[in-house]
């Protein structure tokens, strides 16, 4: 089983050495297609198998192949696919893709995922915790270099790397951040914030991608320009975007603090009470409570004894499939809520730096 290799009580690459009170993770992705094959929508069925094998063979000859694992989509159980989606390592598009598609995944201090035959023939992405944008780029470039010598990519001098969707051509590169924006959401400054993002060629969507809700005030913010600027230029502009997001969120948090500190303090302590005593918590409630607690710690309402910041992987660990994997037997939805309450309570009690509030 896929999760035999995984520890489900924490996600190490999200609890990485660097932590932040806004940013959960930073991701960079390259989209590529191979010459000689049509794109996904027009590819000949007979070509799909060959394409898959060509990419697989190139992967097998890299130094990192033995460290991770290649999963063919058709061999994954739907449960396993959901698990990888919860972890943001595959897309729901890939989980619905045909037989000759798959994902190579390697988790270490960061996470690498290479999707084969999703929207493009190849989607290579690297995720680091918090805001390690430079490190992420350096690591991904290294892996990419190794692979690039083995595959022949569709490229034109005018449009750069040719991708199935016109939004990705050029560098084929996209930078995205998972960030926690309770300040901007509660201070009702969303509209202005979104305008600011648009002006910086950034877009925003929910926690689990396009059309999904921003549960727990968690958003994906991603670059939407890949043509007409180099990889380094995009890196620089998204770095500025990151500072913009940080500034706006801090401003909003300060505003909340000065305007309605009492209500905020009350809401945080009520949430502590719920986490301590509730006997069942649904998954959407869990995300909401986690958001309030994280805000409480980052504003100093709760004391983290100066040790570490909030463990952001909790937002993923409380998802249904991740929880189920900690158990021997499948649970009903109701039983799951009960177990979720236990799990969160235990997480906070076990971490010494939270003990002050949770014991």
């Amino acid at each position: 089983m896929i999760w035999d290799n995984y520890n489900n009580e924490s996600i190490p690459w999200l609890r990485g050495p660097v932590q932040d009170s806004i940013f959960l993770s930073t991701r960079i992705r390259f989209a590529r297609n191979l010459t000689g094959y049509n794109f996904k929508s027009r590819i000949y069925p007979s070509d799909l198998e060959q394409l898959y094998k060509t990419i697989k063979k190139a992967l097998e000859n890299t130094s990192f192949y033995s460290l991770g694992k290649l999963y063919q989509t058709s061999r994954l159980l739907s449960f396993e696919k959901k698990y990888l989606i919860e972890r943001h390592l595959i897309s729901s598009d890939l989980s619905r893709a045909g037989k000759y598609s798959g994902a190579f995944i390697y988790e270490s201090d960061s996470a690498l995922s290479i999707l084969i035959n999703e929207e493009d023939h190849l989607r290579i992405s690297q995720v680091f915790s918090s805001t390690q944008l430079e490190d992420c780029y350096i690591k991904l470039s290294k892996l990419y270099q190794e692979l690039a010598g083995k595959l022949d990519y569709a490229y034109s001098s005018r449009w750069g790397y040719l991708t199935a969707c016109p939004t990705n051509c050029g560098t084929g590169m996209r930078v995205s951040f998972l960030c926690h924006l309770p300040g901007i959401v509660s201070a009702d400054e969303f509209e202005g914030f979104q305008k600011g993002l648009t002006a910086m060629d950034l877009s925003l969507r929910g926690f689990y991608g396009e059309g999904s809700q921003a549960y727990g005030n968690i958003f994906q913010i991603y670059s939407n320009k890949s043509l007409g600027l180099s990889e380094k230029a995009l890196l620089k502009s998204t770095g500025q975007g990151l500072e913009f997001i940080r500034e706006k969120e801090f401003e909003a948090r300060e505003k909340l603090k000065s305007k309605s500190f009492f209500q905020l303090e009350d809401a945080v302590w009520r949430t502590v009470g719920i986490i301590k005593y509730a006997r069942a918590i649904s998954s959407t409630d869990a995300l909401r409570f986690l958001s309030t607690l994280w805000l409480g710690y980052s504003l100093g309402i709760l004391n983290s004894s100066g040790h570490k910041s909030f463990p952001p992987d909790l937002f993923i660990l409380v998802q249904p499939v991740h929880l189920q994997l900690l158990l021997e037997e499948p649970l009903s939805a109701r039983e799951m809520d009960v177990f979720r309450a236990q799990f969160i309570r235990k997480q906070f009690r076990d971490e010494t730096w939270y003990r002050e509030q949770f014991d």
């Binding site: 027009r42 016109p166 043509l227 230029a233």
Partner: protein, 173 residues
Amino acid sequence: MDNAGNSKKERVLCQKCHKNPAQITVIQVIGGQKTELKLCEKCAQKAGYEDQLRQFPQNEEGMISELLSKLNEEVEKEQNLFCPNCGLTFLEFKSALKFGCANCYEAFEKKIVPMLSKIHHATWHVRRKPGGEQSSLTLKELENKLEQAVKDERFEEAAQLRDLIKEQKNDLG
């Protein structure tokens, strides 16, 4: 030059012969000064505007039907456009916004320029090279492209090309 139609309620007389109804308005801008001269067909011909007269149909109906047939032609061209490599039609591309193969970019090039310009505010790929951004085209190629873009009044594209040329010249200098 304008075609003042016959159907206008108020008849204006030709400003030259003061006899026939004025049908043509000649607008001239010289040194920032705009002058308007309303002429009848005969006087306009005498004044040497014969060519311009011929370009315009004699009445509004004619003009509209000509515009419509031009539009139809464009639509038909678009409907018949397809990628010879993968067979994707332009209309299919337009509705799904996904290319069928690498060759589609070339097959639909003229049509996708405005779309890509809207998405990326750019219509040329650039690479990073030490010290700056660079196009994968040579200076000469870029200059030719710029000339063509200006000619075709594709100004946003021309602006990006101008920047790329400046960048390359800086590198050389």
